[in-house]
């Protein structure tokens, strides 16, 4: 049976995690894992709701050691959780606070945390074919679907990503992350990436620019920041002085080149983006300011089909179709065109929501905006709906600007000015949440008549 180590090359007394300015050693982490693994319930699957990044990873590792699978729900919405627990009835919920999932037994991680005794320093080996995680798609391309991930695939993605970014165990950089650890990118980049390279991570989850500054400041001198375009925008707007960092890694949404440039100047660093999707994990990276082309990670290759590309890797059970339209620049580099599910057809004109969204967001004064294709309406030609955050601009002004950059058949009817888009905690917009927003706004319109 092939196995892969739970962790990269740490010494027992290596700093494994930083809580504020205090290190936790690798030996202490492994002792916590061993203690917890002895006491976890017998269930096959676990929903790990632990808020603290370090304790979450103790729970994740203990579940791996016990051969249990961690479920990563796309959010905390009760209906979504109900659907997942319905399909995985033999589950329990691991918590460190008040969180719970209706209908599942809860196991409080702190019940063993304070009593853990020192175990021998042994890094567990985990079978590479063991299903470590089931990640659920967020729903932006349809109904949430389970995506099982083997331990071998998680390790391979972390190693290929780290190798691309030039990580080395001897560099002793600390990963500081603003992203939550309970979704695929957060798990990969804030936990598996450092721990597969024998590097420490910071346990905080900073939100405000001042938090980010302080988290970076409390980590040892060499750090990398794992974050999203939203947080980068906040930091750039604040123009606070930030401690020196080796590089920024951004994901979850496209990072505009101008913003990447501002961040490179402000932080005096390089900004990289990682491109991935739940079915395959991280698959490509680019330095945003260097241009639009993405470079595939090592270990992954394209397979060409008649009308699309898929990705092949030793660690993927079967080729995974690429969710976006791409054009190849070379055998291992590509441009993103648009997402398949984003194609719309209005009165015979084909368009891409991704493209339209980009044009909308490029309009001066538009802070955030999105198009929604509500679905076919039998009575008339269905038009697109748009939701736009643009303080100080009127709907008419935005429409007149849009008219100059898109085919008028795609002009939204209606265009709603909204205070904020219903992004979930990872910054994604689901079709469901947009449809719900449209319903609410329609009701308000009717009441106002």
């Amino acid at each position: 049976m092939n196995t892969a180590a739970l962790l990269g090359p740490y010494q027992p007394e290596s700093a494994f995690a930083w809580i504020g300015g205090s290190p936790i050693t690798c030996h202490r982490f492994l002792s916590e894992v061993a203690t917890l693994a002895d006491q976890l319930p017998e269930n096959a699957t676990v929903i790990n709701l632990v808020e603290d990044r370090f304790r979450f990873f103790v729970g994740f590792a203990a579940a791996l050691v016990r051969g249990q699978t961690t479920l990563l729900p796309p959010g905390r919405a009760p209906k979504v959780l109900a659907q997942i627990t319905n399909d995985h009835a033999n589950s329990y919920c691991l918590i460190d606070g008040q969180g719970k999932v209706e209908g599942l037994p809860s196991f409080h991680i702190l019940s063993t945390y304070r009593n853990s005794k020192e175990h021998q320093f042994v890094v567990p080996q985990i079978p590479t074919k063991q299903i470590a995680v089931v990640a659920f798609t967020s729903g932006s391309t349809g109904t949430p679907r389970p995506n099982p991930k083997t331990w071998g695939s998680l390790v391979a993605v972390a190693q290929h990503t780290g190798a691309r970014l030039g990580l080395s165990p001897t560099d002793n950089v600390t990963v500081v992350a603003t992203v939550p650890h309970q979704h695929m990118f957060g798990l990969e980049a804030s936990l598996l990436l450092p721990t597969q390279f024998g590097l420490p991570f910071h346990t905080g989850r900073p939100l405000y620019p001042e938090d980010i500054r302080s988290a970076l400041g409390s980590a040892p001198p060499r750090r990398i920041l794992v974050t999203t375009p939203l947080h980068i925008k906040a930091c750039v707007t604040e123009k606070t002085q930030f401690p020196k960092i080796d590089f920024i890694l951004s994901a979850t949404a496209p990072l505009p080149i101008a913003l990447a440039q501002q961040a490179e100047t402000l932080f005096d660093t390089k900004v990289f983006e990682v491109y991935g999707f739940v079915e395959a994990g991280s698959v490509a990276t680019r330095r945003t300011v260097a241009g639009d082309s993405w470079q595939l990670l090592d270990g992954i290759s394209f397979a060409k089909h008649s009308d699309h590309y898929s990705l092949r890797a030793d660690y993927l059970r079967e080729p995974v179709p690429f969710p976006d339209h791409i054009s190849l620049q070379g055998p291992r580099t590509f441009f993103l065109q648009s997402r398949h599910a984003d194609l719309v057809n209005i009165a015979g004109h084909r368009g891409s929501l991704g493209d339209l969204n980009r044009k909308l967001n490029e309009i001066e004064g538009v802070q955030d905006g999105v198009f929604l294709f509500p679905g076919q309406d039998e009575r008339s030609i269905t038009r697109l709906t748009a939701f736009v955050v643009a303080p100080g601009k009127s709907a008419d002004q935005i429409l007149s600007d849009l008219r100059t950059v898109i085919n008028p058949v795609f002009l939204p009817r209606p265009l709603y000015l909204v205070p904020i888009l219903p992004r979930n905690e990872t910054g994604k917009l689901t079709r469901e949440s947009l449809l719900e927003l449209a319903r609410q706004l329609q009701c308000e319109d009717h009441r106002g008549l």
């Binding site: 939100l207 001042e210 906040a234 303080p391 909204v418 205070p419 992004r423 905690e425």
Partner: protein, 88 residues
């Protein structure tokens, strides 16, 4: 708006403008909860609002401030903190 200080009036306007809420600033009660069940703001609003406050008053909101939960509870508590920490 009786019993509302000029700063509270000003910050209520800032909240409505920044988050583009479709309400009149005078509708924000000084003791009403801003987040969760009250005005229904979330962490992304908090991020937006913190930027507006630091730009208007030079007060940088941070999560590790022991008073942070109390500060962000209501318009009144927020204004008390702004008053105490403002640099402009």
């Amino acid at each position: 708006m009786s019993g509302v200080s000029p700063l509270e009036e000003e910050v209520a306007k800032l909240i409505v403008q920044t988050l583009n809420l479709k309400i009149d600033p005078v509708q924000i009660q000084p003791e009403q909860l801003l987040f969760g069940k009250g005005l229904g703001l979330d962490s992304i609003d908090a991020l937006e609002l913190s930027l507006a406050i630091s730009q208007s008053y030079g007060y940088h909101i941070r999560s590790d401030d022991p008073e942070i939960t109390a500060t962000l509870a209501s318009l009144r508590s927020l204004c008390t903190s702004i008053q105490k920490n403002r640099t402009k």
